[in-house]
């Protein structure tokens, strides 16, 4: 690995980091704007034209607000909580393949920070670490509401991680690899996994909603019962980190869903397009397609949020344990039978 490669990698990491932050910032704006449209309103329109500077204004406000650490809180853990939340949200993007390998001036640039062969497991590990940020923050606040929110977050994540893992197993039986790059390459052109795993995708997206704590599974924050849930006691940028982490998580899980089920950077007619645009602009066009898919998923997250009310907690557990897990297991069995029959009859 030469110096140029290392520099390229660092550049890529920096770009991805900045993109995830900008996406998270503008997700907050998009959320408010989309919520407004769904409710026949206009939405934020004061900061800049159509309010597009709103995220900057909000960020400035967050930085300038007073930093409050409650007297009875554990100061160290109180700060560790949001830091951990944003850290785990940011490192998830390391294994996502953003595009095909492209050539710039004789260099082959891999549009993926690292292609580890257990990419899917890495994502799962990072996602399950993410709940520690919430738990530590909720516990360190020394407040009943925060603690309840944290407990809810933990039990919800544990319940839904099982069905998420099971829904992925059915997919892995078909792909035969844990590397996200290989999974993306297998879906060349229109061979998207969602066509082979529709039930698996539905299970996965439901679990993704639960893992990112989005409505209808936003019980950890649950404004109506728990004030603010785990971030009741947080103010200024520490609160900002929690909110930011939620939106980055949404971005990453949209990227994961797009990669695993919706073909990632693949699109029908990509060979023709690559021939037309060459080895630099062709892959970049694929990246653009990938981001369109991600944005559609983020829009879907928001669309669902402004449509469906929150689950009651026992209903949430019922859905997780009594419906999603059996369905995921059934999906595995069906996938096994289906793929065996297909290979047996030589398709």
């Amino acid at each position: 690995m030469g110096l140029a490669d290392i520099l390229i990698k660092f550049g890529l990491i920096l770009i991805i980091f900045v993109i995830s932050l900008v996406m998270a910032m503008y997700s907050t704006y998009a959320e408010r704007k989309i919520a407004a449209f769904f409710q026949d309103r206009i939405g934020p329109n004061r900061a800049g034209p159509w309010g597009i500077l709103q995220p900057l204004a909000d960020g400035g406000k967050m930085f300038l607000k007073e930093e409050i650490i409650p007297t009875n809180a554990t100061p160290f853990l109180f700060i560790v909580g949001p830091s951990l939340a944003i850290l785990t949200a940011c490192i998830g993007s390391a294994v996502i393949p953003w595009g095909q390998k492209m050539t710039i001036g004789g260099h082959i640039v891999d549009l993926q920070v690292t292609d580890i062969n257990v990419g899917v497991l890495y994502i799962f590990g990072v996602v399950s670490l993410g709940v520690y940020g919430v738990m530590i923050g909720g516990w360190a606040s020394n407040n009943k509401y925060s603690l309840l929110g944290a407990i809810r977050a933990a039990s919800q994540n544990i319940s839904y991680e099982i069905s998420m893992g099971l829904s992925i197993i059915a997919l892995l039986m078909l792909t035969g690899t844990l590397s996200l790059r290989e999974i993306a390459e297998q879906q060349h052109s229109w061979h998207w996994n969602v066509l082979r795993q529709p039930l698996g995708f539905i299970l996965f997206i439901v679990c993704a909603f639960a893992e990112t704590n989005r409505t209808p599974f936003d019980l950890p924050e649950c404004e109506t019962e728990l004030v603010g849930g785990y971030h009741t006691e947080y103010s200024s940028m520490k609160l900002g980190f929690y909110l930011f982490a939620e939106y980055i998580n949404m971005f990453i899980s949209s990227a994961v869903m797009a990669t695993l089920y919706w073909g990632g950077y693949n699109y029908p007619g990509m060979d023709w397009m690559n021939g037309l645009l060459g080895t630099t602009w062709g892959p970049l066009f694929g990246v653009a397609i990938f981001f369109i898919k991600i944005c559609l998923f983020i829009f879907f997250f928001m669309w669902v949020r402004w449509t469906i009310p929150r689950f009651r907690y026992d209903q949430l557990m019922d859905l997780g344990w009594k419906i999603l897990i059996p369905l995921a297991i059934a999906n595995i069995v069906l996938t096994g039978i289906g793929s065996t029959l297909l290979t047996h009859f030589g398709f």
């Binding site: 989309i34 407004a36 449209f37 769904f38 409710q39 026949d40 309103r41 206009i42 329109n45 539905i202 669309w303 669902v304 402004w306 449509t307 469906i308 859905l319």
Partner: protein, 165 residues
């Protein structure tokens, strides 16, 4: 127990059928409903730039009127202050001096006339009480401000602009 009004209706609670228990059809229906609203024209407006039309009997900020010669109509009789249920109006009367005939219609006028807009309930009783047709609540919405003292409106804000200007 026998119900007194006989209006009681016992509702039958049916168990959910399979389609209802599957959540997804209902969720898709809900998504379709919200998507319909997504493209609908907003019912809200950008307030300070756009304003809705007031109804004809809207009661907004007060104005002290002048007569056809541009003289102030108010004679500081105090009936408005007396009728005011919120006690928002206060005034000080003064006698018209020679040479001020073009300013004030009667021999007595209000040297100070103050309405506390934080107290005012915009009931319009001052308007009804006034024997000289000097006060009307025909203005705009009272604007917001930062300090309480700035909500006490004096004659500078209340009196109508002179005619020939």
């Amino acid at each position: 127990m026998e119900s007194l009004s006989n209006k009681k209706k016992v509702l039958e609670v049916k168990p959910l059928n399979f389609m209802e228990r599957a959540y997804l059809p209902a969720i898709i229906g809900g998504l379709a409903t919200t998507m319909k609203h997504f493209f609908r024209k907003p019912v809200t407006i950008s307030y300070p730039e756009e304003k809705r039309e007031f109804s004809e009997n809207f009661r907004g900020m007060h104005s002290l009127k002048r007569d056809e010669d541009g003289k102030e109509r108010c004679t500081a009789c105090g009936l408005c202050a007396l009728s005011c249920p919120a006690e928002a109006i206060t005034m000080t009367a003064a006698e018209r001096q020679p040479g001020e005939e073009n300013l004030y219609r009667e021999e007595k006028y209000a040297a100070v006339y103050e309405i506390n807009m934080l107290r005012c309930i915009f009931c319009g009783l001052c308007e009804e009480a006034c024997p000289k047709e000097a006060i009307y609540l025909d203005g705009d919405i009272v604007p917001a401000d930062y300090l309480r003292k700035d909500f006490i409106y004096g004659k500078d804000k209340l009196v109508e602009a002179p005619l020939n200007q």
